[in-house]
Amino acid sequence: MASVSLERLSKVYPNGFRAVDNVDLEIAEGEFMVLVGPSGCGKTTLLRMVAGLEDITSGTLRLDGQVANDVSPGSRDIAMVFQSYALFPHMTVAGNIGFPLTLRHVPKKEIDRLVAETARILGLSEWLSRKPGQLSGGQRQRVAMGRAIVRKPTAFLMDEPLSNLDAKLRVQMRAEVSRLQRRLGVATLYVTHDQTEALTMGHRVAVLRSGVLQQCDVPQALYDNPVNLFVAAFIGSPEMNLYEAVLAQDRISLKLGSQEIPLPGTIAAAKPGLAGYAGRTVIVGLRPEHLPAAGPDWAGPVLCGDVSLTERLGSQLLVHFSIDVTRASSEEVRAAAEEDLDENEVTAVGDGIALVDSRAPVKAGEQATLGVDAERMHFFDPDSGLAI
């Protein structure tokens, strides 16, 4: 039985705005579910509906199998970690962590024991008598986690808990939160706009757009098999290159601008849906890492582009290139691109981005020949945006 189950959950505000639209989601016991999407997509609203801080307009929320739509937040046995940590500034670390227990009239000795145990798990033992104002961002974040875990709830809700930390600490805390969640084995719904966080932390990732659930799957499946253009454009950094292309009548090649890319015979078997697109325009998706620099020994199809900029990442080289092709600019792609980008995310300055070996002889201002890993091409219907 799922710990948390959302059945056709919707939230409509009095002004008619539909923030969450018929979302179905199940979070199993011990599962780490990440809810990801651009700003304003309704992910925090959905989390707050599960918490009980927002009313549910329609649909059913079940916690441990019991309908919880009208259960008050404090009675849901759910703990929440807020983006701002929301620590009580007048209480010590021990007071903050023990607060949920004092409300439940747990004996003082037991509170002290549980607080000490929680502090030990989180490495806060020496800070128990400090006030939140005397702690660093990472320590405050741990105190907020401590307050959530101390009472061993049915589920954790986390609302972008790492977004206030600097980049280095965020990476460190990402691992700590994941490790802690695995150790405690409590169902967790984690909201973030950072797809790196989503892919690295979640057992499964649910992608939300305009209140509608787009896809929910394990991170690798989400990356390898996006169900539509939005997910394809949203997941992955640098983002997927999406172009309009024409599939040849015989389906053995693809016309990409003035260039023709032969398709391997395995494509037809792997993507039988392509049969209906012979001679028609499709959207083709190429991830930057599937466009290596084509050396003399490269036997597959190639794509030639004018390099406008190169960025060295140490082990790899980011190549911004231009080709005579129409970039896909459907609503889905624009919605994904409008997302606030993190400092480590990259946007194309030309028509596309390729991620090649750092020693590849690619220079800005010259033409580069990029190999195309055609087996890993993605195809989308240009009208519906759905994967073919």
């Binding site: 801080l53 404090g74 929440m80 807020f82 009580f88 007048h90 949920p100 409300l103």
Partner: protein
């Protein structure tokens, strides 16, 4: 460069320096002149209270010669200032307490509610504050006398409290909206707290600085009131210190020196409160304004 040139430029520098000092002096003197209207009453009170009657009659504005404290002891005895100081402490203290008790839940409700009723409540509270005391004090006296509630320090304290509640609501509302964001309230609710727990265990402890300011202001306001006390208190044994101090002014004459001594005695507790809590009071008054 010739010695003549050096001498000329040295003189110019001296002239510039003298001009700068002159302007500074003029600025300081202007500032001091502006202080005169505020400082003069205190000066007059102090020198009058410290003079003998003869000294006061011969030299009203000069320094006391010789200085004497007889006016203080005389005022203390004749106006029963000891009792009236106690009465003021009781009435103003109850006033401060009632202000806190009424304004804290109201401000908390305003800070946490999203209802449009909040605007109406805050507007009404502001209107209450703006109505001059003289407008409502007589009808209130009539009503209280019907209920046999006049000449009662407890009732006077409650009236002080109610009068200061609008100020308390506004100050505390601004503070809570700033210092207790929604996340903190929601975190407490998620931890299992009921609204009363959030108020008592989270909001009130966080608001201690501004609650102290409100209590101090309400106390000072009650201490300084004459009008309401004069209307509600009849027995001399119940008089507050400000009311007792005015007893030296009668239809037939004024004992300025005893009046001055009584005024200084009545001011002393307030001066002590402000001297101790000045920084906290100013902080409490300005909180929320810097957002």
């Amino acid at each position: 460069m010739s010695s003549e040139t050096i001498r000329i430029s040295g003189n110019a520098a001296r002239r510039r320096g003298a001009g700068k000092r002159g302007r500074l002096l003029a600025r300081n003197l202007s500032a001091l002149a502006l202080c005169i209207p505020f400082v003069y009453p205190f000066y007059f009170l102090i020198i009058s209270a410290l003079k003998t009657t003869q000294n006061y009659a011969s030299n009203r504005l000069g320094l006391p010669h010789p200085a004497t404290f007889t006016q203080f002891s005389s005022a203390w005895r004749s106006a029963s200032l000891g009792q009236s100081l106690l009465n003021s402490t009781i009435a103003a203290g109850i006033g401060a307490l009632v202000t806190i008790l009424l304004s804290a839940p109201a401000a908390d409700w305003c800070a946490r509610t999203k209802s449009r009723t909040k605007t109406i409540v805050l507007g009404t509270v502001a209107c209450m504050w703006m109505i001059p005391t003289i407008i409502w004090v007589i009808p209130m006296f009539v009503e209280l006398s019907h209920q046999h509630l006049t000449d009662n320090l407890l009732v006077l304290g409650v009236v002080y409290g109610v009068t200061n509640t609008p100020l308390g609501v506004y100050l505390l509302y601004a503070y809570l909206a700033d210092a207790v964001p929604n996340d903190i309230r929601e975190a407490a609710i998620m931890a299992g707290a009921k609204p009363r727990h959030v108020f008592i265990r989270i909001c009130l402890p966080i608001a201690v600085p501004v609650l102290s300011t409100i209590a101090a202001l309400a106390f000072v306001w009650g201490w300084g009131d004459v009008l309401i006390a004069a209307v509600l208190l009849q027995s001399q044994s119940k008089w507050t210190v400000t009311l007792a101090a005015t007893s030296f002014v009668s239809r037939y004459g004024v004992s300025i020196q005893q009046e001055a001594a009584a005024a200084i005695i009545s001011m002393l507790p307030m001066i002590v409160i402000f001297a101790i809590g000045q920084r906290g009071i100013i902080k409490g008054l300005t909180v929320g304004s810097g957002r």
